[in-house]
């Protein structure tokens, strides 16, 4: 048995060098100025209330991520529900169709939205065609969201919707059918069964869906760069910019630390909510 534990050594060493040390390095750099001496300037600059450029970007990142997550939930829950009611035979195939798009490079898929959304893009051509045959009272407005915050939200929803649907779906198919039948036998209407039985039992899926959507949405820099143009930079763009363009690694590290803390706090809140909830439902 002792010898088997030796199998841990390579991984422990690897994890120490490539997981723990790099995170400590970010912390270290975030407290250094360009000459390498200790400073709090990087954090002070971020939280500077007299010139809150960076706080505004952080606020925008959180705002767009929350909007995207809410839209994903509103669109994704019904889809997961419909999916879970399908016969088991075809369920596997249909849920496979949700994962399939992820096998195409996500940069390209996002880039493809540019062809669809542009002022002279495919969606507007289609609208123009409809307007050609519709009477003037029913004219459709053209879509002009490219390089706005809404384009970023659309990109987020598009890329992360499967991450919302799949966890909810996984929980929904595990719900004990006899609970639903019991509620029906006791005279609950369909809406009531959903509100009182199905939805509360699916909350753990909703919670993991929310964290799997919110996290990548708040940290992305690609989607905002491609669809949002230059004006809708997010915190991810700021960090990328410090490392790849400006070269101020100290400030970039400080922003990464802030992002890390933000994510850990969010996860903590979400998970606490989940454990309170599942604990509560057992007691009921």
């Amino acid at each position: 048995m002792k010898r088997i534990k030796l199998a841990l050594i390579p991984y422990s060493a690897y994890a120490l060098i490539f997981i723990v040390a790099p995170i400590l390095l970010i912390l270290l750099y975030s407290f250094q100025d360009s000459s390498g001496s200790f400073t709090l300037e990087n954090y002070a600059r971020f939280f500077d209330l007299s010139d809150p450029v960076y706080l505004k970007v952080l606020w925008r990142s959180i705002k767009l991520a929350v909007i995207s997550t809410v839209i994903c939930l509103i669109l994704g829950y019904p889809m997961a529900y419909i999916l879970s009611r399908l016969p088991a035979r075809i369920r596997g195939t249909v849920s496979f169709l949700f994962i399939l798009p992820m096998w195409m490079n996500f940069l390209l898929r996002t880039y493809s939205w540019m062809s669809l959304l542009e002022r002279t893009g495919l969606i507007n051509s289609l609208i123009g065609w409809f307007n050609g045959i519709l009477p003037s009272a029913l004219q459709l407005p053209t879509l002009d969201i490219m390089y706005t915050q809404w384009a970023v939200v659309l990109g987020n929803v598009y890329n992360f919707l499967p991450f919302m649907i799949l966890p909810i779906y996984t929980v929904l198919i595990k719900i004990d059918k006899s609970l639903i039948e019991a509620a029906q036998d006791l005279g609950a209407s369909r809406g009531r069964v959903f509100r009182k039985v199905i939805f509360p039992l699916s909350l753990s899926g909703v919670v993991s869906g929310i964290s799997m959507t919110f996290m990548p949405a708040v940290t992305t820099f690609v989607i905002s760069r491609l669809l949002g143009g230059g004006q809708n930079a997010l915190i991810g763009d700021m960090i990328e910019n410090q490392f790849k363009v400006v070269g101020d690694w100290g400030f970039g590290s400080a922003m990464s630390v802030i992002l890390m803390v933000l994510i850990l706090l969010t996860m903590n809140v979400i998970q606490r909510y989940e454990s309170e909830n599942s604990g509560g439902s057992v007691l009921m």
Partner: protein, 266 residues
């Protein structure tokens, strides 16, 4: 019990699928576009499929992507499986600690992981390029292996391993003859997951590769600023088809296996 289908459910699903597949269809259709401009249809043509193989930059990137994905997943399988085994046999405290460290790269945003590795490679003086890229990919692949192998180990009956030892097998023999066959589905799942993540990764590669080595994702990103070449549409159409065919084969085969097992049981 026969349920009546709600037509609204069908319409809703169709709309969601339209949303998810519209950009992919656009991409595939435009890979056959004879015009170079995006959004303008100039007639059917296979010219981008022909020029694709002459584009050495794209071919290099494809080669790097596949080579990094295969090598990093294979190395991650070895380190990750060993780690899962070691954790399985170690005390609970050690296991919890290591599992927490393992989940760090998954919890952390890709951009933070990428930057932290960039800082590490600079700090130890490793020149950014193929090696740093490979190390980065191994790092984010290992957790997928561990998390796929651990559940299989937990399902394992500890007694069978000890029985093999009692019957005179060396621990290594006992591992290869008794444990490995049981946990191999977990290893394969982990490998496929890691391989996929590696091919699809952009953010971590972007920060950990040098100027002269680029993966497909990195290449696409740098192209997206100057305008995407239609060849890349052709290449991703081919890759998408390859994956689709592969997945269908795997699904059909595992379906057939399940049927066979079902019949044997009867």
């Amino acid at each position: 019990m026969k349920k009546k289908r709600n037509p609204l459910a069908g319409i809703y699903s169709a709309l969601i699928f339209l949303f998810l597949y519209a950009p992919i269809v656009v991409l595939i259709v435009f890979s056959f576009n004879s015009s170079k401009s995006r959004g303008h249809w100039g007639g059917f043509s296979l010219r981008w499929y022909e020029t694709l193989f002459e584009n050495s930059k794209l071919m290099d990137a494809l080669q790097t992507t596949l080579s990094v994905a295969l090598t990093s997943s294979a190395i991650a399988v070895i380190i990750g499986t060993a780690a899962a085994l070691g954790m399985y046999f170690s005390r609970k405290r050690t296991r919890t600690l290591l599992m927490n460290v393992t989940s760090l790269p998954m919890l952390n945003a890709d951009i933070v992981t990428g930057i932290s590795l960039l800082l590490l490679f600079t700090f130890i003086g490793l020149k950014l390029g193929y090696t740093s890229l490979l190390l980065a990919h191994i790092t984010f692949n290992i957790p997928y292996i561990i998390l796929s192998v651990m559940p299989k180990l937990n399902q394992l009956d500890k007694n069978t391993f000890e029985a093999a030892l009692d019957l005179g097998a060396t621990p290594l023999q006992a591992f290869f003859k008794v444990m490995l066959p049981e946990i191999s589905p977990g290893i394969i799942t982990g490998f496929i997951l890691a391989f996929t993540m590696s091919i699809d990764d952009f953010v971590i590669s972007f920060f950990t590769t040098g100027a002269d080595v680029s993966t497909l994702s990195v290449e696409i990103y740098s192209m997206s600023r100057r305008g995407i070449k239609p060849e890349i549409n052709a290449l991703s159409t081919l890759m998408f088809l390859a994956v689709l065919i592969l997945l269908i084969i795997v699904n059909v085969r595992s379906g057939r296996d399940a049927q066979k097992r079902e019949q044997e049981r009867i």
